[in-house]
């Protein structure tokens, strides 16, 4: 209440009140006077309400007219509260934090206190009243509010001073305040420390020293700023990515970002290979192979054979000897540098360790980025709240084009409508027949898809057997392309078949549809690659006994990669450009084809798998992949801009990128690693070429080297020991895997515990909410009482002057009226006859103290 009542009306209990009844002849007179009173008082109430509202407006922040009208919907009563109650509600800390600067300051004060004291939460009693946002402070009274804000500000400054510079910067950075405010806070928290005095004293001694230093610092800062701006401009494809994001939103952008990630992975793989294997070998070329050097025809770029065969491109070129002329700079660092310390440069070892090390680095990076991505995109208990998330988070602020913005409006609207309809659908169970039919269709489609996959696999297998039985010579370059062409054709055609089949089944959620499509395509690609791996390591090794089978596998992978690129180009051309032309010209459709993000990303993953598979046999394959990716970026971008539109389905960009990076890690990288491990440990390298030509397996190189180290002397005796006990012994492997399992189990348990805690906290919050409602209701009733008593006082006054008979001045009558309507006794309807007044209802409020 704006103005508390200064006195309490003491109403004596008069037992005779109930017995006294007004005589019937008074009735009309009393009625009339009541009517008059009602009119007068309703006017007065209206005025008062107006006044109250104005005060509310004045006291709260400007523009809060809506807040006063906000009705608090409690579980038991949805009645509107009085303006005063609502004002208090509006000034509750939980509501002011979103708008009031003072509240923000005090919130951050609390945080700094917490940071300093390292306690979980400052005790409400301990912080001091002024430090926490309290309703008394800013909104109810204006002047004290400003004062309190100043006080809190100075407290915050003090707290900031006690933090370290880094912590302070971090804290200030996260504050949702304006730049000017932050700057003044920072300045204050800095100037009040002891430093300036020191500085001034020093400046007194050396007056020029101060500004010289300042100038230097500023110059350095300026230089840094300039460099930063330059770096910002140097970020690859920044402008192109901005344009894509502006036109197509985050979903399509995620494809290009994935492409960028792959580029980084390839660079990571290529750099050590270039430094320790390719570069060194190129600097000390092996003796040229006997026989004529074939002429360059151009077809080599497709087949990877011919002229390219005896180059650093392939495994066969690398020598098995040690490269130890005195001028070789011993390569420090890396995997081979340490071990070869003081030893000549051993090419087989360098080859083995570099490939192994590069794979290891890739593995670590991949696992790290996958775990990071998982941490970002999956939160404990994040399954609920689709509507709220859609409404709050679905607008993509990157979008800058009007057309794209309209498309986004449409997408969000459709999505919201679908969500609402889905909610209604879920309530009505589907009929048994319909569900059966759906299951049947689903099973049929899956069966067909698996059959297609099987057919493709059998086709690849049969064709590869055919290729082995009718060997082609290296001169017939074109014939070498047959198997890759078949594989690429199958890879291109099968997804279209899958897409056609997927049109038959109806999935409830579009996300599920995408997952199913990804799953089918992935199965196909992995099975085909598996068959090819078997073909290479199982069949080709036997078939090419006297030739360099490693070169052949490397070339095969090169061919697959190049043809994959060509087929992607064809797919882009026909699937996007021609399809758009047809649909625009012939079908007169306005819509462009949608950009198939999942399919395109799977293509990328497939290409990357080829690179990883081939890196042992063709160390420069990552370079080829980098070139391919760069081309792909521009081609896809151009095609996208010209031919495509963003997908209409909502796309959970971060979830999907998590899925993609996991796919990159799990079947793709892991499969390649298993393949390479098998090749290193089990397969006999060819005896005519390559760094391992004299050995039984590639792994032997390491063993031989360890044996030599053992002989070399006690200086490096720990290395053989490590080898004997950690590598050859199986126990460490078991130990590590057991530890890993234990860590995983612990993590699962921790997450479970967190879930439980979240549930408990949620319960706690809802209890607090109920408490809040209870308190608000109490508050409301207190106000109500006060208001009623004031109204009664007014009525008493006016009744005293109006009522003809002194009998009706008794408070009990008026209170009874008040009971009829809690707001004011005089809002009682005029037809409330005296007869009813004289027979009070049983619930008459007996405690008449007002």
């Amino acid at each position: 209440m704006a103005q508390p009542l200064p006195f309490v009306l003491n109403v004596p209990e008069i037992p005779e009140d109930h017995d006294r009844e007004p005589s019937p002849y008074d009735e009309s007179e009393v009625h009339d006077s009541f009517h008059q009173l009602i009119q007068e008082q309703s006017q007065c109430v209206a005025e008062e309400g107006l006044e109250l509202r104005q005060r509310g407006l004045g006291a709260a922040a400007p523009g809060t007219s809506g807040s006063g009208r906000q009705a608090l919907v409690g579980p038991e009563d949805a009645a509107a509260y009085s303006t005063a109650t609502l004002r208090i509600l509006a000034s509750m800390p939980s509501r002011t934090i979103g708008r009031s600067r003072g509240a923000i300051i005090s919130q951050y004060y609390n945080r700094t206190v917490r940071l300093r004291r390292r306690v979980s939460r400052p005790q409400l009693g301990g912080v001091g009243r002024s430090a926490r946002p309290s309703l008394r402070l800013y909104d109810l009274e204006l002047d004290p509010a400003a004062l309190e804000e100043e006080e809190k500000r100075s407290l915050l400054v003090k707290e900031l001073q006690s933090l370290t510079v880094a912590q302070r910067g971090h804290m200030l950075k996260g504050m949702p305040l304006g730049l000017a405010e932050k700057r003044s806070l920072r300045e204050e928290s800095r100037t009040l420390t002891g430093k300036p005095r020191e500085r001034r004293g020093r400046r007194g001694l050396f007056p020029c020293c101060g500004w010289l230093r300042d100038t230097c610092v500023l110059a350095l800062h300026g230089l840094g700023l300039w460099l930063l701006a330059g770096l910002h401009g140097l970020k690859p494809w920044r402008y192109a990515l901005k344009r894509i994001g502006g036109q197509f939103g985050s979903s399509v952008l995620s494809y290009f970002l994935f492409l960028k990630t792959l580029l980084a992975f390839n660079a990571l793989l290529l750099l050590p290979l270039l430094a320790f294997v390719v570069g060194v070998q190129a600097a000390f070329p092996p003796p040229a192979s006997p026989g004529p050097v074939p002429a360059f025809t151009g077809l080599e770029l497709l087949t990877g054979g011919g002229r390219l065969t005896h180059t650093v491109m392939y495994y066969g070129y690398y020598s098995n000897s040690t490269l130890n002329p005195p001028c070789v700079p011993a390569p420090d660092g890396g995997q081979c540098g340490r071990e070869t310390d003081g030893l000549p440069y051993n090419m087989p070892l360098a080859y083995l360790f570099t490939v192994g090390g590069a794979f290891f680095i890739t593995c670590i990076t991949l696992v790290y980025s996958m775990s990071h991505s998982f941490g970002e995109s999956y939160r404990v208990g994040s399954t609920s709240g689709v509507h709220a998330i859609t409404v709050f988070c679905s607008w993509d602020h990157k979008v800058t084009q009007r057309r794209a913005s309209r498309l986004q409006h449409d997408n969000i609207r459709t999505h919201l409508k679908e969500l609402l309809a889905e909610g209604q659908l879920r309530q009505g169970p589907r009929s048994v027949c319909g569900r059966l039919r759906q299951v049947a269709v689903l099973g049929l489609v899956w069966l067909l898809c698996l059959a297609i996959t099987l057919g493709c696999t059998v086709a690849v297998y049969a064709f590869s057997e055919l290729m082995i039985q009718s060997p082609v010579s290296a001169e017939q370059g074109g014939a070498l392309l047959a198997l890759p062409v078949v594989v690429c054709l199958l890879n291109l055609g099968a997804p279209y078949l899958y897409r056609g089949l997927a049109a038959l089944e109806r999935h409830d959620s579009p996300v599920l549809q995408v997952y199913v499509a990804v799953c089918r395509n992935l199965i196909l690609k992995m099975v085909i690659l598996g068959i090819l791996c078997y073909h290479w390591l199982g069949r080709r090794v036997g078939a090419l006994r006297d030739q360099c089978w490693e070169n052949f596998v490397g070339q095969e992978l090169y061919r697959l990669m190049v043809l994959d690129f060509i087929f992607i180009l064809l797919d882009t051309l026909f699937g996007e450009l021609v399809w758009r032309l047809i649909s625009e010209r012939k079908l007169k459709r306005k819509e462009k084809p949608e950009f198939d993000i999942a399919g395109n990303v799977l293509e990328l993953i497939y290409g990357q798998t080829l690179t990883w598979l081939g890196v042992l046999f063709a160390p420069l394959l990552p370079a080829v992949q980098i070139i391919k990716l760069v081309f792909l970026f521009y081609i896809k971008k151009t095609s996208l801009m010209a031919n495509c539109q963003a997908p209409r389905r909502p796309w959970l960009a971060s979830h999907m990128s998590t899925v993609f990076i996991s796919l990159l890690c799990f079947p793709s990288f892991l499969g390649a690693a298993v393949f390479l491990c098998y090749a290193v440990w089990q397969v006999k390298p060819s005896s005519t070429c390559g760094p391992f030509r004299t050995l039984d397996t590639m792994y032997e190189a390491g063993k031989v080297w360890v044996r030599r180290l053992e002989k070399a002397g006690p200086r490096v005796s720990w290395l053989p020991w490590v080898h004997r006990y950690l590598v050859e012994n199986t126990f460490p492997v078991y130990l590590v895997s057991a530890l890993l399992l234990a860590v995983i189990y612990l993590n699962i348990q921790v997450v479970k515990g967190q879930r439980k805690v979240i549930c408990l906290l949620r319960e706690q919050i809802s209890n607090e909410g109920e408490d809040k409602i209870f308190l608000i209701n109490k508050l409301h009733s207190v106000y109500e009482k006060k208001e009623r008593s004031r109204c009664c006082r007014d009525v008493l006054k006016s009744a005293a002057s109006h009522l003809p008979s002194s009998r009706f001045q008794t408070p009990s009558l008026l209170l009874y009226c008040g009971h009829q309507d809690p707001r004011c006794p005089l809002l009682v309807t005029p037809d409330l006859g005296l007869r009813r007044v004289t027979h009070p209802v049983p619930s008459f409020p007996q405690p008449v103290k007002i």
Binding site: S65, S94, G178, R186, R190, W211, G222
Partner: protein, 210 residues
């Protein structure tokens, strides 16, 4: 103490020719003691933001010193291509404006805006400002009117594109059901941030690239 000193650009020591080309007053402004210098979020968009800001100013106010103190009206800011297609553009400008009438932006405000929408802003900061942008009546909570206005902004400006009244009611009921943890009929900042924290895509979509 420091504020009493003359601006660095006026001091003789600040005559490093090489940095003149980089609008020394600007870098000076950005690097003021206690200014944005420790704030990476301000440093990153600094120079390019200033260039874009100057383009909005009339020719005679484009000098560096003056541009730091001139305000740009709402209409001009809204004509930026980065904001043009954004349905929340007016709210964004109002939230970041520090002028009393909330209708113009100074360079500082503009920097604030960009830093919040940049990559380097913390998710907390982003969600705080998102809340203020969605709080159409500035009362500190998202009530039903705010939510319906928000949904209307999302679904499009036209009458025919909006949801029907019953759909809107159901949607808002669902939103409140999901996010109003303390059941007081409105969504306050912490509840809002709680919802936002479950959406990993928010940080990447709440971004404006200059």
């Amino acid at each position: 103490m420091r504020t009493a000193e003359p601006p660095r650009s006026l001091r003789p020591g600040w005559a490093l020719r090489g940095l003149r080309s980089l609008a020394p007053a600007l870098s000076n402004f950005l690097l003021q003691p206690g200014g944005g210098s420790a704030d990476f979020a301000y440093r990153e968009p600094g120079p390019s933001a200033h260039r874009r800001f100057c383009e909005l100013l009339p020719q005679e106010h484009r000098s560096t010193e003056e541009s730091l103190h001139t305000r740009v009206s709402l209409e001009q800011i809204l004509s930026l291509p980065e904001l043009k297609a954004n349905p929340f553009k007016e709210r964004i400008c109002r939230v970041f404006s520090t002028s009393p009438a909330r209708d113009s932006l100074s360079f500082e405000d503009f920097l604030d805006l960009l830093s919040v929408f940049s990559d380097t802003a913390t998710p907390d900061l982003k969600s705080h400002y998102a809340f203020r942008i969605f709080d159409f009546d500035d009362d500190g909570t998202l009530n039903r009117e705010d939510l319906s206005q928000l949904v209307n902004c999302l679904t499009g400006p036209g009458e025919d594109t909006q949801l029907s009244a019953s759909e809107m009611k159901q949607l808002i009921d669902n939103i409140l059901e999901e996010s109003d943890i303390d059941r007081d009929g409105t969504i306050n900042l912490s509840e809002f941030q709680h919802v936002i924290s479950r959406s990993p895509d928010f940080a990447s979509s709440f971004k404006i690239v200059l």
